[in-house]
């Protein structure tokens, strides 16, 4: 039998809510996540180790409850990656529960990625994204040994710092590029739930005496005597902080690499949650429901019910937050030394990029394809998720982010063996033949 169940990629709030909505309408969705449990980024504690008893927020509890109710109707495939969806309408899942099938609708709910500005030393072991520390804390209750430092910008940094404090591992400091506390009146315009949460985090940080160094850049990291030395700069004043682990975070962006409207072919495809627009967890859940309703509408499973429009409140909140944290770090800052690694996968530096631009400009201008093929930016296994924001910013006059990124599959690297082993439900089993 050909398998045509609808596919939902990502079991964060958006994907879970989409699965609940589709199941409630009588469908049997396939829900896939490459992580070993549900919850996505924000509710990663839903997959916490059995020995932990995480304090779940009310929203997380409700989401889990709702999901457990429909669980028998959902084909949940964990530790399984979504690899590809082609124009023939075939989807490829690989990993623990891989398969090939022909979903009659697809919802991408692959969440956000952290933007992390390249800095000298950001490739050292012990330097990670701040989110990576948080996910480890939420799922296993652990943080790396030794002194912790958080640096970058954006509201998530404070959530993470506060969670570290609660775990008894207060960071040495939070180094904030922006100056969010300078506009208290603007902050008061944030919706009440956001304000309450922010106040709780800030309160916890103040109580624990965690220094928040705002308007400060983490300019460089090096190793000395087995420790990481963070070099900071505030209005020309330099300082050094010795720590053992550094978490960087410069905001969030959509994790929509390899996912495009062009993928559709005949099949209805929707994006939901942070991978459509980074609006946070409440919006993500809302959006998951909305995408599911769009699917139902497209499949005519609920005649007459049009999809609801995305809620503008979430957009306003994010715009306000962006203003609060303004003075986004800009890579154009010529202070970055040329040997700063930009592309971690292919080990290509800012100097390599500048040289390529310089050489091209002597004759003509460079193109996205040249930056990829010849300079290797975006060609490594992360497929440009980490470097292309910055390459695009540095080459804005000649290339676009969309051109740099391309739209190729697999959307993440997949093992050949997994591709070959995936059972094929796109054709009648009696017709299966690999040759």
């Amino acid at each position: 039998m050909i398998d045509t169940r609808p596919l939902i990629v990502g079991a964060g709030p958006a994907g879970l809510r989409a699965a609940i909505t589709l199941s409630d309408a009588g469908l049997h969705p396939v829900l896939v996540d490459h992580a070993p449990g549900i919850g996505g980024a924000v509710y990663a504690n839903l997959r916490a180790q059995p020995n932990l008893t995480p304090k779940l927020t009310r929203e997380a509890c409700i989401l889990r409850q709702d999901f457990e109710r429909v669980r028998p109707r959902v084909d949940l495939r964990l530790s399984t990656a979504f690899a590809a969806f082609d124009q023939a309408g075939t989807a490829l899942l690989t990993g623990q529960a891989g398969m090939m099938f022909k979903p009659r609708a697809v919802i991408f709910a692959t969440g956000a990625r952290e933007r992390i500005q390249p800095r000298p030393g950001w490739t050292l072991a012990g330097v990670s994204s701040a989110g990576a520390l948080q996910i480890a804390l939420k799922t296993t209750g652990t943080l790396p040994l030794g002194r912790l430092l958080l640096a970058g910008t954006g509201p998530l940094l404070y959530a993470i710092a506060a969670q570290m404090v609660a775990a008894g591992r207060a960071p040495v400091a939070v180094i904030e590029t922006g100056n969010p506390l300078r506009h208290p009146l603007m902050a008061l315009r944030l919706p009440a739930p956001v304000l309450t949460e922010a106040a709780r985090y800030m309160g916890r940080l103040l109580l624990a005496g965690v220094p928040i160094l705002s308007g400060t850049d983490l300019t460089r990291i090096e190793t000395r005597n087995g420790a990481l030395i963070a070099h900071t700069s505030r209005q020309g004043r330099w300082a050094e902080i010795a720590v053992d682990h550094i978490g960087l975070h410069d905001g969030l962006a959509r994790n929509d690499f390899g996912i495009s409207a062009e993928m559709t072919g005949q099949t209805p495809v929707f994006q939901a949650g942070d991978c459509r627009s980074v609006l946070g967890r409440w919006a993500a859940e809302d959006d998951g429901k909305r995408a599911a309703e769009q699917v139902l509408h497209a499949l005519k499973a609920t005649p007459g019910r049009a999809a609801i429009a995305p809620d503008q409140r979430f957009v306003k909140t994010q715009t306000l937050l962006a203003k609060l944290f303004a003075r986004a770090p800009s890579l154009a800052a010529p202070d970055l030394p040329d040997d700063t690694v930009i592309c971690r996968c292919e080990n290509r530096s800012l100097g390599d990029l500048k040289q390529a631009l310089q050489a091209a400009s002597e004759q003509t201008q460079t193109t996205a394809r040249t930056l990829r093929l010849t300079e290797r930016f975006g060609m490594g296994p992360c497929q440009g998720r980490q470097c292309l924001d910055w390459v695009a910013a540095l080459t804005a006059d000649t290339t676009s982010f969309a051109d740099l990124r391309g739209n190729r599959w697999p959307i993440k690297p997949v093992r050949v063996r997994d591709i070959l082993d995936a059972p094929d439900f796109t054709v009648d089993p009696s017709h299966q033949d690999l040759k």
């Binding site: 070993p36 990625r113 072991a125 990670s128 994204s129 990576a132 996910i135 480890a136 994790n255 296994p381």
Partner: protein, 91 residues
């Protein structure tokens, strides 16, 4: 409950149920997972399967993200820069 272990480049490392390879190594104080093929260190970076900075070679699975893969008892895990990789595969 007896402690379960994985073998990291041949050395036993304890893990708890629900630990990923990354969290088990991190608890043991191991932050560098060998070198990537470009000579930069392999280590946890994004923590959620996007950056490919944490790749290791896992017995029975192959090359995979340490941050996404749960530990399995007595499983052998090696860094990609470990040259004994193919030899051990022939043991």
């Amino acid at each position: 409950m007896s402690v379960q272990t994985i073998l990291w480049n041949g050395t036993p490392i304890a893990f708890l149920p629900g630990d990923t390879i990354a969290s088990a190594l991190s608890r043991a104080g191991i932050t560098e997972f060998g070198l990537r093929q470009t000579a930069l260190p392999a280590a946890i970076f994004c923590g959620i399967g996007q950056c490919q900075n944490c790749l290791v070679s896992i017995e029975g699975i192959g090359v995979a993200e340490a941050c996404l893969t749960l530990c399995d008892a007595a499983q052998s895990v090696r860094s990609l820069s470990d040259h004994r990789l193919t030899e051990s595969a022939h043991d």
